[in-house]
């Protein structure tokens, strides 16, 4: 599923990243790589998403979220 389909307060793992090399470079540099576990802190319409991963609060634009393929982890 796509990152933006996740609900608030869920945990998930990054499966794949799709986009041009610029996008991949940027998203890698902020720590989102395949296998990386994160939690969804905020997911409001028309707002960037807020994720927490590698001790970092990350804000990700809505169109950027579409390039991140994820899998939900059930606790």
């Amino acid at each position: 599923m796509k990152l933006n389909e996740l609900k608030e307060n869920t945990e998930a793992v990054v499966k794949d990243i799709n986009g041009d090399s610029r996008f991949i470079g940027r998203i890698t540099s902020i720590g989102l790589t395949p296998g990386c576990r994160f939690s969804v802190v905020k997911n409001d319409k028309n707002r960037p998403m807020l994720l927490y991963s590698r001790d970092t609060m990350i804000s990700l634009g809505r169109s950027e979220c579409k390039g991140v393929e994820v899998e939900e982890v059930r606790a």
């Binding site: 991949i24 905020k42 807020l50 609060m57 950027e64």
Partner: protein, 671 residues
């Protein structure tokens, strides 16, 4: 005295700017990298008989070639200009922030690692085993808190050590990870033969795998033809950057294993962040924050503004003295109305700039600005801007110069220029002092409607301006959506911040003085008439081209007032007042310069001489004209480009006349 050059490298929010300001203080120089639209910050300090030149490398996230900033950073480091590179990471989030170090590993330049934000990490219950990290990495490593004055001795000590040891990062474990990637060994084998200074074959191979265009081109150029074609024939994963990224993070994880102790990881948003990220309250909270910041910036500004009133006293005293010794009127005017008056203006404005830079610089350092970016990202993104741009816009309702100074927190040059260009469309405090007055005189109860229309036109103006300039300033391929960290809040370093703000205000002062004096002098000469109207050049030109300006709805008196409003909007009414009262233009202009002397019967004068469509045209013309000469100078100071400053200024002058023309003809249809 010997010299050494240090380059500071770190992701945004690593505390790089704070360290740079603390190290160099007032000894800074800000310009642009030659031929590039990227800000260049350099500074220096002396210690133990050594002069250190510090280069604050432009903000980037990695050592890739995705932006001009990153290419410049990379070229600077590998050119050998830096004796040592200081890599900064945030010790409260090492897992992520060591990425820069991992991406740097393999570049052939000595470095050391500074783990900043020690205080934040401590608060989170994290401890770092620096000795273990040093052992694993093979370079000097230190914990640091850029806001702690006592920490600097340790910094200087580590710096001296790094300069002596000139050590490189131990990459053997990292390379073991890379070797697992398909094609890595084959490519590296070919690259080994080439000779590209500054980089190791490992680093070049990784960048090639990442589809780095600059590196690919360099390899093609420097490798023998057969090696180059062999590399090209090796089948690669299209997403090499993902694979290498995984390697880098794996290496970081191994590096940190046993070196970092953490008690807990908090995922919860703080109270303040719950408000800022609230779906409904977020925007009002940001607007309120900016307004409070704006009000707060008057506290440090007021004492400086008070100094400006000395100039008003000086002007009268010196003016009287010059007249009494029989000095020619032209010279008296030059001294009092151009030089002294200009300084009075400049100092008043500088007070405001000082306050704005201090308060918004503080908000940036504390981490509030990142929240503002988050909240307004969607809205500002439509204009091709960062969410932060909302702040200069709001500040510009008070003063455009403050808006320009506030745009400093925008880290991309093109977006900064575009933000300032759009902020000019926001009517400033001086415009708000005239527009309601003029609207009420001519349109009575319809005045609020005029103001609403002006605000709508402002939004439309900004949208069109963004379309026109956005294409060149913020190229579509450079438009990157938001991928940003919301940093933990931290305390500002007041000493460094104050020194930095003083330094910048001083720079602004010198640049502004030049521009303002020149522009005011030109206006003075153009408008100088020996007591009678028809001797000044402006009057002659104004009356001669009146048939043309009438098309825009501006009789010559209003046109000249429009021209004068480019110097300062406050003056526009003073000019009309003088002209319609039958005074000389020269006097009117001087009156305008010193702050709008109005005839007592101004309302009757206006109503008797100006029709409603003309008044409407005039209101539009001055509202959307360039804000004032000081804002022009401040814009130049922030964007370091004569070309773009001139472009924006001409665009606004022409744009204001077009809007006036439209307003006039709409007015003619109504009345």
């Amino acid at each position: 005295m010997s010299t050494a050059t240090i380059a500071l490298l770190g992701q945004p929010n690593s505390g790089k700017s704070t360290l740079f300001n603390a190290l160099t203080g007032l000894k800074q120089h800000v310009g642009n990298w030659p031929g590039k639209t990227v800000e260049k910050k350099e500074g220096s300090f002396a210690r133990n008989g050594v002069t250190y030149d510090v280069a604050d490398l432009p903000g980037s996230y990695s050592m890739s070639a995705n932006s001009d900033e990153e290419v410049i950073t990379r070229d600077f480091i590998t050119s050998g200009k830096a004796d040592v590179v200081c890599i900064l990471a945030d010790s409260s989030q090492l897992e992520r922030s060591l990425f820069m170090l991992a991406d740097y590993a393999g570049i052939d330049a000595p470095c050391f690692l500074v783990l900043n934000m020690e205080d934040v990490a401590k608060d989170q219950g994290k401890t770092v085993d620096v000795a273990l990290l040093e052992k694993k990495l093979g370079i000097p490593v230190m914990m640091f808190s850029a806001t702690d004055t006592k920490a600097y001795d340790q910094f200087y000590f580590t710096l001296e050590r790094a300069l002596k040891e000139k050590s490189h990062i131990n990459v053997s474990e990292l390379e073991k990870e890379y070797e697992k990637i398909i094609g890595y060994n084959e490519i590296k084998e070919q690259i080994k033969g080439g000779n590209i200074s500054g980089y190791t074959p490992m680093w070049l191979t990784v960048k090639y795998l990442e589809n780095d265009k600059v590196v690919s081109a360099k390899l093609k150029e420097s490798l023998p033809a057969d090696a180059a074609s062999k590399i090209e024939s090796i089948g690669l994963d299209a997403n090499g950057a993902i694979a290498t990224g995984e390697c880098k993070f794996k290496w970081i994880d191994e590096l940190l294993e046993g070196a970092v102790n953490k008690t807990k990881t908090g995922v919860k948003l703080g109270k303040l962040d719950r408000i800022y990220t609230h779906r409904f309250w977020g925007k009002p909270a940001v607007v309120l924050t900016v307004i409070l910041g704006l009000l707060g910036s008057f506290i440090p500004a007021l004492p400086i503004m008070a100094v400006a009133s000395i100039f008003d006293v000086l002007k009268n005293v010196i003016g009287d003295a010059l007249v009494s010794v029989g000095c020619p009127a032209f010279v008296t005017g030059l001294v009092c109305d151009v030089v002294i008056q200009s300084f009075s203006y400049i100092v008043k404005m500088l007070g405001f700039v000082f306050g704005v830079t201090l308060v918004f610089g503080m908000l940036e350092e504390v981490g509030v600005m990142a929240r503002i970016s988050y909240v307004f990202d969607n809205t500002m993104g439509k204009l091709g801007l960062q969410g932060k741009s909302v702040m200069p816009f709001l500040v510009s309702f008070g003063c455009t110069m403050g808006g320009a100074a506030g745009a400093r927190v925008i880290d991309n040059w093109g977006q900064k220029v575009l933000t300032i260009a759009l902020a000019w469309a926001v009517p400033c405090g001086a415009a708000w002092a005239i527009i309601p007055m003029l609207s009420t005189v001519f349109f009575g109860a319809g005045a609020p409607l005029i103001i609403v229309v002006l605000l709508l036109v402002m939004i439309l103006h900004m949208w069109i301006t963004a379309k026109i300039f956005g294409r060149t300033l913020v190229k579509t391929e450079d438009r990157c959506g938001m991928i940003m960290e919301l940093p933990p809040y931290h305390k500002p370093k007041w000493g460094a911040l104050f020194r930095y703000v003083f330094g910048r205000t001083k720079d602004t002062f010198f640049r502004v003085v030049k521009v303002v004096l020149i522009v005011c002098l030109i206006f003075y000469i153009l408008s100088y008439g020996s007591g009678v109207n028809d001797t000044s050049i402006l009057y002659k030109v104004g009356t001669a081209i009146e048939p043309v300006t009438k098309i825009f709805g501006l009789p010559w008196q209003l046109f000249i007032a429009f021209v004068a409003s480019s110097v300062g909007k406050e003056g526009a009414v003073g000019v009309i007042s003088a002209l319609y009262a039958g005074g000389s233009y020269g006097e009117g202009f001087m009156a305008a310069m010193s702050g709008a002397a109005r005839a007592a019967n101004l309302n009757e004068l206006l109503l008797a001489n100006v029709s409603r469509p003309e008044a409407l045209a005039f209101i539009f013309a001055i509202t959307f004209n360039l804000p004032c000469v000081v804002a022009l100078a401040a814009t130049y100071q922030e964007i370091h480009s004569v070309k773009w400053t001139a472009k924006i200024a001409i665009y606004y002058t022409v744009g204001a006349l077009i809007l006036a023309c439209l307003a006039y003809h709409v007015g003619l249809m109504i009345w």
